[in-house]
Subunit: 414 residues, 2 copies
């Protein structure tokens, strides 16, 4: 097994140089963007080996697609690196500051975490995306990618490390765990003293495993069981457009809507209108009894399990509710705390929904699909936090830092 402690020590040493690196960080990121483009052939070659091995093991086509890299995708990865380089450096920002009556000047200053761990699954672009955000945030990063993408990830790692050297930074600012056994992931979850924060990026199971086993601090990024509630006063046309967009524009992502709640007074009108649009994409609806009464018995009956499921597919659970209160209670029970939306023309119901629904992002009359670092104007994101500690919602570079207090005086004692 890889000696993770050794990697941890190297990362910690590298993080000290990185903490004060300033514009060298951007230099490294721009070099890496060029490196990805000029080294595309090598990446593609390694990716073909990964794909062949995965096919031989019988990987499903959807997963093969996630694993596959092509020139277009490499260009996208390079573009992301340039985007992160163009962002403002969060390190050194004075978040707040004041002078106390005794003359002590107290400043709260944004500083890097130190070492960030990222555990992720098949998508190779996460290797460069996550590394870039961590570097920009001033932290060294230890990456543990999926077993299937091992060769591709290693090719990307080499380019990243060469770029760091070129920029005069320690190459150990980025380290990929080359041992892709289950044990190496477990060991990473317990690198107390070496990893300051661990971020799992992937499906529900990965996140649960990390949350249950990690002793280092974790930021949970989200699976999303996102709801759209169509209130009695909703504009039916707007509701149908929002549901259609939230469900079908990209069903495999965490901010896609999975569950539709409709007030009973508007259901007879709204449900057929929404279904008509969703039919264009052959969305399967799984509904409660009242939904089936309105839309017909061809609708699959929804089970308790359906209401708690993130389908990530062209499937949506549907429930007719008696009131806003029932909608809010249903969401509190089944939601993963990611994103929820109300469609309403009622000022008071909009206000209550926004205030009482306890999710990372709560929408009034807009699609849940906007929960995204880019759409929120934060630039690149490392993930969407669905926990309440530290950061909630899309996490950009600034959310990947911490603060410290710098207190300056001239001999004050207490």
């Amino acid at each position: 097994m890889t000696d993770l402690t050794k990697m941890g020590e190297k990362a910690r040493a590298a993080s000290r140089a990185l903490a004060a690196a300033g514009p060298k960080k951007d230099k490294a990121l721009l070099a890496a963007a060029e490196g990805l483009e000029s080294g595309a052939e090598k990446i593609l070659e390694e990716n073909r080996k990964d794909l062949a091995a995965a096919k031989a093991e019988g990987m499903r086509p959807a997963l093969l697609d996630r694993l596959a890299v092509n020139r277009e995708r490499i260009k996208g990865m390079a573009g992301s690196l340039r985007g992160v380089a163009a962002q403002k450096d969060p390190v050194g920002e004075v978040v707040s500051g004041f002078t106390r009556p005794n003359g002590l000047k107290i400043e709260k200053v944004r500083v890097p975490f130190g070492v960030i761990g990222v555990i992720y699954e098949a998508r190779p672009n996460v290797t460069s995306d996550a590394a870039a955000i961590c570097i920009k945030a001033g932290s060294a990063v230890i990456l543990r990618g999926g077993r299937e993408a091992y060769r591709t990830n290693t090719a990307v790692e080499e380019i990243l490390r060469a770029s760091l050297r070129k920029a005069g930074l320690p190459e150990d600012c980025v380290q990929l765990v080359h041992d892709v056994s289950r044990e190496s992931a477990r060991a990473m979850m317990n690198m107390t003293g070496y990893i300051d924060v661990l971020i799992p990026r992937g499906g529900k199971n990965l996140i649960r495993t990390v949350t249950e086993n990690a002793h280092v601090p974790v930021i949970k990024t989200g699976w999303g069981n996102c709801h759209i509630y169509v209130d009695a006063s909703a504009d039916v046309n707007m509701a149908a457009n929002i549901v259609f967009n939230a469900k079908t524009s990209r069903p495999s992502v965490c901010n896609a809507a999975e569950s539709l709640l409709v007030h009973k007074d508007i259901a007879p009108k709204a449900l057929p209108a929404i279904k008509a649009m969703l039919d264009e994409k052959n969305v399967e609806l799984r509904g409660c009894e009242r939904t089936r009464t309105i839309l017909g018995s061809s609708i699959v009956p929804a089970t308790e399990e359906d209401y708690g499921t993130e389908y990530l597919d062209y499937i949506m659970s549907v429930k007719v509710v008696d009131s806003l209160d029932e909608a809010i209670t249903h969401i509190a029970k089944y939601s993963s705390g990611h994103s929820e939306a109300i469609v309403t023309e009622s000022y008071e119901n909009a206000r209550r929904f926004a205030s009482e629904v306890d999710s990372a992002a709560v929408y009034v009359n807009a699609s849940t699909r906007f929960t995204d670092g880019g759409e929120f104007g934060l630039g690149a994101e490392i993930g969407i936090s669905t926990q309440k500690l530290h950061a909630r919602g899309p996490m950009g570079v600034s959310e990947l830092t911490t603060t410290k207090f710098i207190v300056t005086g001239n001999g004050q004692i207490r």
Copy 2:
């Protein structure tokens, strides 16, 4: 064993009412302050029983003092409640907000965590202090106090719950775990879904146990192995005053200094001056060889263990160092990340120390004893965070909240 799940459900239900309680929270806190004063006799009676039981079990005098409550201390507890009531309500603060080019208005709003757990040791005032801060932060709280203070804590709990009722709030906003077995503490660490954040308040062992066993998110509050580094250019008089204050003004607290580092060029002058002041309080110094050469062989030799120890007593480890770099490296190795100070007249060394020492609070020419919510102007504090996630340094009411995004539009889709 107490059914903690039941308590969790009650807390969660209570938290919903509390989230929107506004000024009722202050009403409850003021009622509790009065309740503590008018109910002092009952508290004292229960405390006498706790003390008698603890004495019978052979508790050390220092710990008995921590457990003891008297009229003065009850007055102090009531005063703290009034102080928290007088603070600004953090809930509802719009932390940031902007309108995106597509017309979506995005606001980041401060909201309560929901349910906070606090595990603490002997001091009964933590029961009212912690409850007050959590209530003000809009969260229900589940308190698990020390076994020894059980009767006293229960008397305080009754007053707090009665005050909540008086203010029209659910009494379950405050619940004390009446089962003080080890199992109840362990169970509390795993109340995923019921406890949003768990805060251990106490010594190093308690904090380690919680960090290693909790599956709910934890905020580590600090034990402090705080350092003072006396630089070559230091004003010796200022250095002696700061060391004396940081070591002796209250040795049992986490922001007290435990270790002294002195540059070799100033050591022959600074060490005797510092020792002369510390001698007034009979502070035991444990020094390196060079320290013993300067101060005499009566100084106890410091072991490796000494440099990592939080004495919480009139003892201090001492090391003569060759350079600022050696001081910074020593601190990186032994510090608990709480508070460190440099005494210097060098602009560049002040700047480097402040930037390179990675602790919650870094001081230039001031005592580490200022790391405190009150001294930082934050009002009451729940503890000093020594972790990097969520909050670092003194945590006031505002640090005990989270945020969510409220996004309002008029039909935006992506």
